[in-house]
Amino acid sequence: MAELLLQTSGLRKEFGGLVAVNDVDFTIPQGSIVALIGPNGAGKTTFFNMITGVYKPSAGAVVFADEDITDRPPHFVTERGIGRTFQNIRLFQEMTALENVLVGMHCRLKGGILSSVFGLPRVRREEQQARERAHELLAYCSLEGVEDDYARNLSYGDQRRLEVARALATQPKLLLLDEPTAGMNPQESAEFTAFIHKLRDEEGLTVLLIEHDMKVVMGVSERLTVLDYGEKIAEGTPKEVQSDPRVIEAYLGTGAAAAV
C-alpha cells in the first residue's frame, strides 16, 4: 500500500445538538484519486471544511504528510499543501482571472510591505515570474484569453476552471474538489474527468473530490468513501461500493437493497 498522504481519525463535528460528522476514520494514499459521496446533508462538505481548517473539529485529528494539522487556520493548511475549491463558486468576483490566480500564489511569494513600496529588484523579479506562472496556469486550465476579464464576467464553466487554477496556484500536494462538475453538461464533465487524470499523472497530485454525478465518480476515482448522516457507511473500490447494500439503502431507501 502506498504511503498515506492524509489521515483522519475519529473526526467529529457537532453543530449544537446535530452531529454532522460522526467519528470518521479516513485515509488518502499518496497519488490516488479518492471520492467522497453521499446523499445531501451527509456531512461531506463539513468534512472538507474540517480538513482545510475552516471548521474546528469537535473531536478527532487530521494528519497531513505526517504533520498534525488539526485546529490549524486555513492559511496554514493551504501553505502545507492542501488546495481546495468551493461547492458554491467563491472566486474574488471583482478581480481579474489573473489576479485571482495571483492571490492563490500568496503563500508562495515573499514580497513584504517595505520591499514592495520601495520596489526592490527582488520583488519586481518575483512579481514578474508570478505573473508568467499565472499565465501558464491559466493556459493549463484552458483559460487563455480571459486573463484580464473580471471573474464575475466569466462563463460558468470558466469560473469552475478558474477555481481549480486558483487552487493549483497554491502549489498543493492534495487537491480537494467540492462538486467540481456541478452544473456541467455531460461533455464538460467528461472533459473534466480527463483533466483530473491529467493532474494526477502529470503533476503528481493527489485528489479528493466530492461528487454527485455517479458517472464522474465511477469513471475517475480509485477509491470511494460513502457518508450518510455523518457516518462512514462504506469504503472501497467503485465496484465494491456499488453493490454494498447499505449504500443502496442510503440512496434508494429501505428495502431497495432487497429489490436489487
Binding site: V54, H75, Q93, I113, A167
Partner: protein
C-alpha cells in the same frame, strides 16, 4: 427650403462647417446670459448652470443640436471628419477658445487665469496622444498645486471674477486640505482596499499629533511632581528652539517617522483585539477606540492620570517648527526654521515663502509620498491580499492569505499615514488641543473616502480636497456670496443665529449640508464620484460573502450573517 440650405453648405469644408456649428451651439447656450436678467446674480447663476450642464450632458446636447442641423439639410460628414488629422479636428474648439478669450479681452476685464488653465486642460486632453492622455490631469493638478503659493501671491487667480467662490482658497486652508488628503489616503487603505469599516481613524491622527507634541516641544521641561521624573533637556536636530527652554526637541523630519511608526504600532495594538470582528461590529469597536484616545488626551494630566502625559484640556504648545537647520541654510539657501522664514523666497514674488507656504509645500511632498505608497501597495502582493479579503474572506483564507496578519498590516499602514498627517498638523498649528480630535474628524475623513470613491486613490484625493475645502473656507465663501447676491441680507447678521436679518449663516449648518451632499451622491452615484473600476461592478451586482458556521459562532468571527 431644406434643400437650399443643404446646397449652400455643400461646398463648405468640413472643419468650417463644424466650427460654425460649434459656435452656433455655444451661442444658443450663452444667449440667455446676455438677454437682460432681473436679478443681479441671475447671469452668474445661469453661467454656472450652463457650465455644469456642459460638463455633464454636453455631448448628448451637442449631438441633439447636430440632429437638428441635419434635419435642416446640413450633411454630417462624420466618417470623413474622423479621418482628418488631429490638428484639423481641433480647429473648431481652438477657434472657439480664441474667440472667447478675445471677447473677454475686448470687454476690458482681465482674463481669469483659472478659465485659461481650464480651457488649456480641455485642449490638452484633445491634442495629447491617447497613451499619454491619462497623465494630463494629474500632471496639471500637480503643477497648479506646486505653483499655488505663487499664483496666490501674484493674484493670478480669479479673486472676485468668479461667482460663488469669490476668493480662491487661502494658503492656510490649503495646508489643512493637504493634511486631510493624507488622512483620507491612509483611511482608504483600510476601508477602500481591505474593506474594514473604521470609525475611529481620528485616534491615529491624535496619536501622531501628540507624538509631535512629546518629541518636539518644551512639554517635558518641567520636573514631574507626582512621579519624580526629572526635567528633560534633549535636543536632536530640533531647529528654532530657544536656549534653556528644556524638553525634548527632535527634528520634525525625524518626528514624522517616529510618530508614524508609533502610530502604526498603536494601530496594531488596537487592531489585534478588534480585527477579529466583521462588518458593523468592527465599526462599533473602532468607534470606541477612537473616543478612548480622545478621552485619554483630555484627561492625561497630573490631576487625572497622576502623570502629565498630555497636559489635559489646555493641550501642549508650542510645538516646534520644521526647518533645514543653519548648515543647509548657509550652504544651500534653504529656510533654517519654517516659522521664522519670512522673506526666505528670493524669487520675483516678495510675499511668497513665509511659514504657511513652506508648510504647504511640505504637506504636498508628504501627500505625494502617501500617494506613491498607496499605489505601490495596491499593486503589490499585500494589496492583492487586501482586495481578496474585501471580496471574500473565507476564500482568501482558503487560498493561503493569513487573515489576521493581513488585516493588521492594512490597519497599521493606514495608521502610519494618519500619524504622518497628525505630526504635520501639530507642527503647522504649533500646538495640540485634545478637542481637535473628536468623532467628527473620523466621520469626516470617512465621508471623503466614500464621496470620492472607495479604493480609487484619485477619487479619494478629489473627495478629500473638496470636502476639506468646504469645511475650511468653501462654505463661508458660499454663504457670503449667497447673502450678498441672492438674499435680502441687511448686514445686521448676528453671531450664533442661523437666520438673522435676512442672512443665513451657512457654516453654522455645515454638517447638514455635508449630509445633503452625501445623500445626493449616494442616490446619484452610490459608488462615489470616481469609483474604482472593480468597485463599480461590485455595487451594481452586490457582494455574496456568506459566512460559514464556525466564523459566525466561534473564534475569529463573532459577527452575524447577513
Amino acid at each position: 427650403m431644406t434643400a437650399a440650405i443643404g446646397n449652400y453648405w455643400r461646398g463648405v469644408p468640413e472643419w468650417a462647417k463644424r466650427t460654425a456649428a460649434l459656435f452656433a451651439f455655444m451661442a444658443v447656450l450663452l444667449i440667455p446670459a446676455w438677454s437682460g436678467s432681473a436679478f443681479r446674480a441671475g447671469r452668474e447663476l445661469y453661467l454656472v448652470v450652463a457650465f455644469v450642464a456642459l460638463i455633464l450632458v454636453g455631448r448628448p446636447l451637442y449631438n441633439a443640436f447636430w440632429r437638428l442641423l441635419e434635419s435642416a439639410g446640413v450633411r454630417n460628414g462624420k466618417r470623413r471628419w474622423g479621418r482628418q488629422p488631429r490638428w484639423i479636428r481641433s480647429l473648431p474648439l481652438v477657434s472657439l477658445v480664441v474667440l472667447l478669450l478675445l471677447v473677454v479681452w475686448a470687454s476690458g476685464t482681465q482674463p481669469s487665469w483659472t478659465l485659461v488653465i481650464l480651457l488649456g486642460i480641455i485642449l490638452a486632453l484633445f491634442l495629447v496622444p491617447p497613451q499619454l492622455r491619462q497623465y494630463v490631469v494629474p500632471v496639471t493638478v500637480l503643477g497648479i498645486a506646486v505653483a499655488y503659493p505663487i499664483l496666490i501671491a501674484e493674484n493670478w487667480l480669479w479673486a472676485g471674477s468668479v461667482p460663488i467662490i469669490t476668493n480662491p482658497p487661502s494658503m492656510d486652508a490649503m495646508v489643512v486640505v493637504a493634511v486631510y488628503v493624507m488622512m483620507a489616503l491612509g483611511l482608504n487603505m483600510v476601508v477602500g482596499y481591505c474593506g474594514l469599516l473604521d470609525l475611529g481613524y481620528v485616534a491615529f491622527f491624535a496619536i501622531g499629533a501628540y507624538c509631535a507634541a512629546w518629541f518636539a516641544s518644551p512639554h517635558f521641561a518641567r520636573p514631574d511632581i507626582n512621579t519624580g521624573l526629572p526635567s528633560i533637556d534633549f535636543n536632536f536636530g530640533g531647529v528654532g528652539v530657544f536656549e534653556g527652554v528644556g524638553g525634548i526637541h527632535i527634528s520634525i523630519w525625524l518626528v514624522l517617522l517616529i510618530g508614524a511608526c508609533i502610530t502604526a504600532v498603536a494601530g496594531v495594538l488596537i487592531g489585534l483585539p478588534t480585527l477579529r470582528l466583521r462588518g458593523d461590529y468592527l465599526a462599533i469597536v473602532t468607534l470606541g477606540f477612537g473616543e478612548m484616545v480622545a478621552q485619554v488626551a483630555r484627561n492625561g494630566d497630573e490631576f487625572q492620570l497622576g502623570f502629565n502625559l498630555t497636559n489635559g484640556p489646555p493641550g501642549i504648545n508650542p510645538v516646534d517648527s520644521p526647518g533645514f537647520g543653519s548648515w543647509l541654510h548657509e550652504h544651500l539657501g534653504l529656510p533654517n526654521v519654517f516659522r521664522d522664514a519670512f522673506g526666505w523666497w528670493a524669487g520675483p514674488v516678495d510675499s511668497v515663502g513665509d511659514v504657511v507656504d513652506l508648510m504647504y509645500w511640505g504637506a504636498l511632498a508628504l501627500v505625494l509620498i502617501t500617494l506613491f505608497c498607496s499605489i505601490r501597495l495596491r499593486d503589490s502582493r499585500l494589496g492583492r491580499a487586501w482586495i481578496a479579503i474585501r471580496e471574500d474572506e473565507t476564500a482568501a483564507a482558503a487560498m493561503g492569505v493569513p487573515l489576521m496578519r493581513t488585516k493588521t498590516w492594512s490597519y497599521a499602514t493606514g495608521a502610519f499615514f494618519g500619524g504622518v498627517a497628525g505630526v504635520w498638523f501639530a507642527s503647522f498649528q504649533q500646538a495640540v488641543f485634545p478637542d481637535t480630535f473628536n468623532f467628527n474628524v473620523s466621520v469626516f475623513v470617512l465621508c471623503m473616502v466614500i464621496l470620492g470613491g472607495m479604493g480609487n486613490v484619485w477619487g479619494v484625493i478629489a473627495g478629500a480636497s473638496f470636502l476639506a475645502y468646504l469645511n475650511t473656507e468653501g462654505l463661508a465663501e458660499f454663504g457670503g456670496w449667497m447673502n450678498e447676491n441672492l438674499l435680502r441680507c441687511g448686514g445686521g447678521q448676528e453671531a450664533g443665529k442661523v437666520i438673522s436679518d435676512g442672512c443665513v449663516d451657512i457654516p453654522a449648518v455645515s454638517f447638514g449640508i455635508y449630509g445633503i451632499i452625501l445623500v445626493i451622491v449616494m442616490l446619484v452615484r452610490p459608488y462615489g464620484l470616481f469609483p474604482e473600476a472593480r468597485r463599480k461592478v461590485e455595487f451594481e451586482h452586490g457582494v455574496h460573502d456568506e459566512y460559514l458556521y464556525d466564523e459566525r459562532e466561534h473564534g475569529e468571527h463573532a459577527a452575524g450573517a447577513r
